[in-house]
Symmetry: C2
Subunit: 505 residues, 2 copies
């Protein structure tokens, strides 16, 4: 490993800083706040967190762990099971960590992905003791070339007292040059961020680090965990078709060109299906200004429909990963990875006019969206970047299948059990049954369109009955408060909302 | 009036376009979309809307009315009563219009104030037929110098087929030069908005208008309606004290200088009390980057504590108004009025690091805020700019008294009956009882702090009991769903939440 490392490390006397993962992890003490690289399973620190979990077996201690977003390799689960996590932010997707959060054992601070770096920079989250960042190369003055994600790493490196580098000698060398690192200045006096298109480059290809802060370099060679790609099914296919049809009608109405506007797409099967669908359509010269690039992005790049993609991470399946990582040169001029505070920046969404496509768990008849809480109480993953994009985008789209658990739960409900996206932030809703275009509509109008276009036919009459009863009571956003959460109460009690269908409210 | 007008109008042959309000109003037909100036009772079109209401008495017709924000002079009420309003956006505060909205008669599209111009510009709200804009002067090439607000007028003038100018010859001439008009370009290709401080000027002192579009000039001389200033009382005074104490502690902790960060303050008595309180404190060289400037802004400018204020409108009481309007020269270098899409721009909030102070109707134990709906159904005013600022600011603060209706309603509830601001967007909550600093806290931690610091002592045990019962069931955001809205159901039934105090859930 040392020879491979030497080829990519320019830092003088770097060998003096080499440590084992266990040695480096020993720098992390009980009560510390640690910032680690990693965003949607890409580019995370891989060895030091495992060393922490091992140490906790015989020496209990707890930390606050901050990352870019989710980690792969079950790292969050391993750390949660080891009892290492007192506090975790800003996002996670791990089954075991999720359970610990929902038991109230880990304090999870679910946050907008663009915001945490700002809060850290302005000392609103306390001091950051240590950063652990995966690198593919190290420059002569200590600069870190990150791997498949940037996430919050640039801010972590700037804010932390000490930096541990996980130097991944197996990461593809072609990653070098892919990143564009720019960190907004402290306020006041901050100048505009000079990005005017997805392909604008404004920074350095590495994360500047004070070399005196580099406390340890740990050599690693594990690959990122592959993305779990849920294959498209009939429902996601239909959702994609509705959305593609909508884009075509926007073009026909003269509201957008065939290049649409820069696309943001959440992770998952619907997003993949939509991007696939764009390949078949008449679209050309598309761009993405998104958080994470999946297989479908590279397929679109290969196909030529997509001209450029900007994001904070690349997360690929095993099959597609091999193809992309071995041919990265081919994409070098067409992909850039940025810090997540830039990929998700509210000002950039507004400036570029992003089309934001994110997934809902459920939405209500007025268009309020729940993206995070199962039955209002149990955290699934977190709000992630959906709020950064939905509020400030040109078009804010949420997709979901109209039912869950084999039809036992309606994803269209009278009153969402938790709100992540308020109706003002939701322009378009899509399920396999259809697309509701809510632009310029008042709540009572939204309700009719949402029930008619998006709800499953089985649940439509009960939703319409609720809405009619509510309207009879009046109000801008009519509700029967004593019935508003009855659907979720039934779901909790019976595991199903079918009771509501049999006796509509 | 003509002579006064002549002194401030450079447009050649402008007299040919003079019309009475009734004649100009005749340009507006059934089914049209009309954009009028006016923002928090400032600078609104005053004669044409009344002419519309008169005409509707004998010739029923309906329009979609867009403005900057709220109108004065009971204009919205008069139009609502006359049945002229089919659709209204993006904000209102009128008692009679509110009633019509809540009866479902007027389709009210409650929107983020920064967003409507974008939607209009990109043709997401249909075509704008006519703009009606109040002017204090008209330039040689048809440019409109607006009066006490800019609002959406620059976009209305650009988008409308025809422009009616209400030329207010009684508006203070010193308004000329106060405005900074800049309209973001269509996308793609939009460049960064080059504002880097509240006092940056980037545009023209007038709204550019194609002179061929000026279909009528109507002479007027009414003043703006004065602001209703609710005097400070003990509760608002205490809220202000808690907040000032918090700012002092932020300075002591080194997180801000004595100049704080640019302040945004909603309208109303708490905002006024807070700004007053800043006068007594150690603060210096303050700035505002807000929507609307009230009496307290000018008092702070006079006092020297405030260095500069940027907003979209000036709304003053009768008493203070006379003082300011007659001495406007004195403030010329220290105040600027911008289009609301710039005063409320998400990117500007993030760039400048605005401290956003807005008012809640109620908030829940997890920090979700309802700013708009009484008991979840009945619209009060609208979200206004609060969402623009809360999501993207440096610090997002919401204030309210801990109870309403003489203590019969708790403003701290288990589950808000409507969500305008999700917990991620709420850093600080303040009532007369205390201040909850929620930064970096998970929901279960937020609940304890909010109940202890903000709730009225009468309601605290019932809230704590709800929370404990909910925690026993588990979840990241614990709730007892079948009880979650019981407080509002009681309020609806009894006009009071006291029943919950007697038998805690
Ligand atoms: C919303 C989100 C959870 C959907 O994920 P997904 O994988 O596409 O959707 P799935 O259909 O697999 O649903 C995920 C879970 O929610 C459950 N669910 C879905 N709809 C539900 C409903 N209406 N009621 C209750 N549970 C529901 C599913 O049963 C599943 O639970 P399980 O894993 O225990 O079976 C996911 O997109 C997310 O976390 N979004 C928020 C973050 C975000 O938007 N980031 C920005 C882009 S990355
Ligand atoms: C929230 C808002 C309505 C508060 O207004 P305010 O004048 O400071 O507050 P008030 O105490 O007078 O309350 C306004 C009304 O809400 C009612 N109210 C307040 N708290 C309540 C509660 N917890 N439950 C039920 N009703 C409540 C009051 O009774 C009053 O109703 P009334 O006029 O019929 O008596 C107002 O700030 C607003 O519209 N905000 C949203 C827009 C915004 O924030 N814009 C950005 C800055 S301008």
């Amino acid at each position: 490993m040392i020879e491979l490392a030497a080829q990519r490390c320019q830092l003088p006397r770097w060998r003096d800083r080499l440590q084992s993962a266990d040695e480096a992890a020993a720098l992390i003490h009980d009560g510390m706040t640690v910032g680690m690289s990693g965003f949607t399973r890409a580019g995370e620190a891989k060895q030091v967190p495992l060393a922490l979990a091992r140490r906790a077996e015989h020496e209990p201690f707890q930390i606050t762990l901050m990352t870019g977003a989710s980690l792969g390799h079950d790292t969050d689960g391993i750390l949660a099971d080891a009892g290492v996590l007192a506090r975790r932010m800003p996002f996670q997707v791990d089954r075991r960590l999720r359970a610990a959060i929902n038991r109230g054992e880990v304090m999870f601070v679910d946050s907008h992905l663009s915001e945490m770096s700002e809060q850290l920079r302005h000392d609103q989250l306390g001091a950051l003791d240590i950063a652990v960042i995966e690198a593919v190369a190290i420059t002569a003055d200590g600069g870190i070339v990150p791997t498949a994600s940037v996430g919050n790493s640039a801010s972590f490196a700037a804010q932390a007292d000490k930096v541990i580098i996980e130097f991944n000698v197996a990461a593809p060398e072609a990653l070098i040059g892919l990143h564009d690192i720019y960190v907004p200045a402290k306020r006041p006096g901050r100048q505009p961020i000079p990005i005017s298109a997805p392909d604008t480059r404004i920074g350095t290809p590495y994360i500047p680090v004070d070399p005196d802060k580099i406390a340890a370099i740990v050599l690693t060679q594990e690959q990122d965990s592959p993305a779990d790609i849920t294959p498209a099914n009939e429902a996601t296919q239909r959702i994609a078709e509705h959305l593609i049809g909508f884009f075509e009608s926007e073009v026909a109405a003269g509201r957008m060109s065939l290049s649409l506007m820069p696309l943001q797409a959440g992770i998952g099967s619907v997003a993949n299906a939509v991007l696939h669908g764009l390949m078949a359509g008449p679209f050309e010269d598309l761009t993405m200004y998104s958080e994470v690039l999946q297989d479908s992005t590279f397929e679109l790049l290969d196909h030529g429909t997509l001209r450029f993609a900007s994001a904070s991470a690349i997360t690929l399946s095993d099959a597609y990963g091999a193809k992309v990582w071995n041919n990265l040169e081919r994409y070098r001029d067409r992909v850039v990875l940025r810090p997540q505070e830039l990929s998700n920046h509210p000002g950039m969404s507004r400036r570029l006019g992003v089309i934001a496509i994110n997934t809902a768990i459920e939405f209500d008849i007025y268009g309020n969206v729940n993206s995070t809480h199962i039955n209002g109480t149990h955290m699934m993953n977190g709000i992630g970047g959906s709020g950064d994009f939905a509020r400030n985008s040109h078009l804010s789209i949420f997709v979901t299948t109209s039912t869950a658990r084999g039809g036992a739960l309606s994803s269209v409900v009278p009153f969402v059990s938790h709100v992540d996206h308020v109706e003002h932030d939701v322009d378009i809703l899509v399920t396999e049954h259809g697309l509701a275009d809510l632009r310029g509509l008042a709540p009572r109008e939204r309700a009719r369109v949402i029930i008619d276009r998006c709800a499953d036919p089985v649940y439509r009459p009960a939703l319409a009955a609720y809405f009619d009863n509510a309207c009879a009571r009046g109000g801008h956003t009519p509700h029967c408060l004593e019935q508003a959460l009855a659907w979720h109460v039934a779901a909790q009690r019976d595991g199903s909302m079918r009771a509501l269908v049999d006796q509509p409210t």
